[in-house]
Symmetry: C2
Subunit: 354 residues, 2 copies
């Protein structure tokens, strides 16, 4: 294997000293880039793009050509696992993901298979291998999955939701069935991430997009428990090299102490959470990733630079901070503004790593 | 004026001793009630209902016929102020509120008038008087308004939004203009609530539905500051009787200490926030209102009773807790389930008030 030429992202997640703050961006390979839209138009649908390893590799690498990001993240969808379970993922334009066969009955849940990533999700694993090869050690590659709870929300609702009444209804009415489903999902997520690690992912991230819609007690029981289970099943030692792990619950700012106990190397922070307070609360235990308001990228360059400065200053001195947005970049952001953000992280962060 | 026959809601907000926990429900007059849907069908549009004091009075009183609620809340919309400012509120079926003339330019903001509630919002003030008269002292009447920040989000976006890029764009690009707009809104909200108090509202609540979409520093600067300004302008002494005030930021759980300093008698809690922890943090300073997950009302009666018990037990002994949902009731809830919730609060709460 080629040695990593830039390992500050990995080192930061492990809280080892670095000379500046690493930066990457959730959804950095995506619609805000004209070169992404060009390939997407050629490929056909979003799913055609995800399921074609060569194209997935190409779009994964695109943002690295433009910006000095310190990590690449696998281009894929968070709903590949439910699709591999037979739910029939599809996208209707402008409406987000949907499932042809949502999970509604006890039988649906009992019959859910645990996908074998090597066969059922081969296209993802092949994409990971190919990206890793093509990266040639430039920066590390992040693998990822949706969290068990977040996968379950889409699987039961059948689509995006505002109030989550179907999945919460199941959780409230038939908690045991919900636990059975989440246990299967935790096993599936762990197998999937382990296969990504085996294929070359050098860090992995679990996205809990909808944990923040739960009450505190339900979050602990139905979301965080299964993120913990996933973590406990991960093989994070790849021939003696540690594979750092990141867990992100959007809207999880109230629960950082509990999340920090889940065993991940780092927590992602949404933009609502004050990163200075977050470091006070859990910064001894884990690294932090985040957390600029994605909407700030609509601002003028000077504003973006000020926001970057402010977040770096709030985190303060020492390793353990990966700069990122507090959520994915929005599709109509000007790519030049991303460059301003990345360059500002480079320019202003060395002073915190003396 | 007729004396209040049931004042436990008012007393609880003022943290005076009561013999059980009061209960009401956000959006308690609304679509989940068949009798509401019948009047709504007769009235025509939602706005026709809001702007007709007799009909607004009738639907305000409807839930009190069915359930032993300890307060009535004015039936109205949170966007009456921007409408009175000339923005042209309308509703397209299934899409939420919209404005014909959203606020986009510096001139739009400079030209925003501060509505005179006595003339420009006469229909609301008349509804308050009429409801108060028809209540005959059965329970107190709550007046309300959207918070300045929340009103601003709709006024700039022109409709509901997911990412709030227009209003945050304005906030980031032209903070002074944003402050000018919020200052006008704070003055307008205070005048509006004072007129409601003058007309008979016995408590008032400010709904900050979208404050939780802001970063911590932006929340303090652009939302909480103006909620404070509103509070400082309220006349909360009505001929020697104190009018308690409630402030609610959905998604504000991280900021409770700051919110508690804003001068309101009570804070509303969303369902994500643990009410026991919230009491530890700010319970000495303010009363708390909330916070059952609205989705729990889809559950079976036994589940609803368990959830009620759990929240009462988490708040614990003593006055200062108004039972409510953590957000408005959803339109397709079975009204019988609301009865189960209300009756459970009655049944299980006396033990906490010895």
């Amino acid at each position: 294997m080629i040695a990593l030429k830039n390992d500050i992202f990995i080192k930061t997640l492990l809280k080892q000293p670095v000379d500046r703050t690493p930066v990457w961006m959730m959804r950095q390979a995506g619609r805000y880039l004209p070169e992404y839209r060009a390939i997407r138009a050629k490929a056909g649908s979003f799913l055609d793009l995800c399921t074609n390893p060569e194209l997935a590799c190409e779009v994964t690498l695109q943002p690295l050509e433009r910006f000095d990001f310190d990590a690449a993240i696998l281009f894929s969808d968070i709903l590949t696992i439910p699709d591999a379970m037979g739910l029939g993922l599809f996208f209707s334009e402008g409406e987000g993901p949907k499932f042809r066969n949502p999970v509604r009955t006890e039988n649906d849940i009992r019959n859910l298979p645990i996908p074998d990533p090597g066969s059922d999700l081969r296209y993802v694993i092949d994409a990971v291998s190919l990206i890793r090869k093509n990266l040639q050690g430039k920066v590390p590659l992040i693998g990822f999955s949706g969290s068990p709870w977040t996968l379950a929300t889409y699987m039961v609702e059948g689509s995006s939701s505002k109030s989550f009444e179907k999945v919460k209804g199941l959780m409230y009415q038939q908690p045991k069935l919900m636990h059975l489903m989440l246990d299967k999902l935790a096993q599936s997520v762990a197998l999937y991430l382990n296969a990504q690690i085996e294929a070359g992912a050098q860090a992995v991230m679990v996205f809990d997009t909808w944990g923040g819609m739960l009450s505190t007690e339900d979050y602990l029981e139905f979301s965080l428990n299964y993120a913990k289970q996933v973590r406990s099943l991960l093989n994070t030692n790849k021939s003696g090299v540690e594979v750092p792990t990141i867990f992100f619950t959007k809207g999880g700012g109230l629960w950082l102490e509990k999340m920090a106990d889940a065993g991940y190397s780092a927590l992602g922070l949404d933009w609502q959470t004050d990163i200075s307070k977050a470091r006070d609360r859990i910064g001894k235990q884990v690294a932090l990733q985040g957390n600029m308001d994605p909407i700030a990228l609509y601002g003028e360059p000077e504003l973006i630079r000020e926001k970057v400065k402010s977040i770096l200053q709030k985190y303060g001195k020492g390793s353990g901070h990966v700069f990122n947005l507090g959520h994915g970049i929005l599709p109509d952001v000007n790519p030049e503004h991303v460059k301003v953000m990345v360059d500002a992280v480079h320019e202003f962060s060395s002073q915190y790593h003396l």
